[in-house]
Symmetry: C2
Subunit: 204 residues, 2 copies
């Protein structure tokens, strides 16, 4: 997800510099190890700016998450020239690549830790509910388009999107919390599901 | 999973009493809040027994997890009188009921927190790798039986089991970290997958 986030490459103002520092400290130390001090170690400007504006690490992390979601929402096009069958392949790619890139493993680990906070922290649960809704709506939109384009079967878009959403959570968590190498097998089966239960084979 | 664990009802010895106290403190306080002190508050015997045998909360939690896995392995029958199609329905039931029972929500929350520890703690990762392997092998066995019985299509058992495994992780995590009510939709779609991609419809 963060590949397309330009503020990590070229922060445009102090706020983006703070969020970049938060990202770096988050990847390096994870949720359990991140502190305002460690964020300020990554921040090139006066530390007092940080301490002045934020009450604690959760305050900063929640702002970082919001900003990342906003950027993702802005950048993800709902309509492109490609068909829905091409779109859904990209979604499946994303589902099985999260965390597999060396640079992203630490980020994925930290995000799994953070999501677990949502089990007892309403603020984090609110946030992850919104990212889930965003993901579901995005997939739902692709499914609807595919049905209209005649490339998908006449499935229930909400139900299909719900399965995709839970799979996203499952693959991300599985990949960083288990040494079992079941990813290729899981992907093969999920692709068989997409081929069999979603793609309209009349079109092939 | 814990429904069938008799040590929670009737601990047979001091060790089982310690593990029961660990379970209760774990459900009440979660991973982030559990301490040896809080476990000892639930323990009816001398606190020194606890402090003498265990180095810290992780030591106790890991033993608790091991014991729970052992008991589950012992109690879960690989062969019963029912067909594999009945078995797989029970597995799908378990996938979508984990944490939905009032008594179990706190346990599910705490387990999601604990699994997130595996993102940076090799001991927990080892443990969850073993539970994953156990789940996968169990599902794989049911799939193989179903193929032999002629009630399932000739699918790849490892691939199918891998998808089930990731779905287990996804449903457990999703349910306690998000307010979105996508469970019914997800279940409907997963059942459609089982009907379409697994069940051999010649037999119906």
């Amino acid at each position: 997800m963060n590949d397309s986030l330009t503020f990590l490459e070229e922060p445009e103002d102090t706020r983006e510099e703070i969020l970049k520092a938060t990202y770096e400290a988050f990847c390096e130390h994870g949720y359990s190890g991140i502190t305002i001090q460690r964020i300020s170690d990554k921040f090139p400007k006066s530390k007092s700016l940080l301490y002045h504006h934020y009450d604690g690490k959760d305050d900063l992390l929640l702002e970082f998450l919001e900003f990342m979601l906003d950027q993702t929402e802005e950048q993800l096009p709902l309509q492109t020239g490609d068909g829905a069958d091409v779109h859904i392949e990209l979604v499946v790619d994303a589902m099985f690549s999260s965390g597999s890139m060396v640079d992203n493993v630490n980020f994925s680990r930290a995000m799994v830790e953070l999501r677990a906070q949502a089990a007892h922290d309403e603020q984090y649960r609110e946030y992850f509910s919104r990212t889930d809704r965003f993901t579901s709506k995005h997939v739902e939109h692709i499914i609807r388009s595919g049905i209209e384009q005649g490339v998908f079967q006449n499935v229930d878009p909400s139900e299909t999107a719900a399965l995709f959403q839970v799979m996203f959570v499952g693959t991300t968590t599985q990949q960083v919390t288990s040494n079992e190498s079941i990813f290729e097998d899981c992907r093969a089966e999920f692709e068989r599901y997409v081929e069999t239960c979603l793609i309209d084979s009349k079109e092939e």
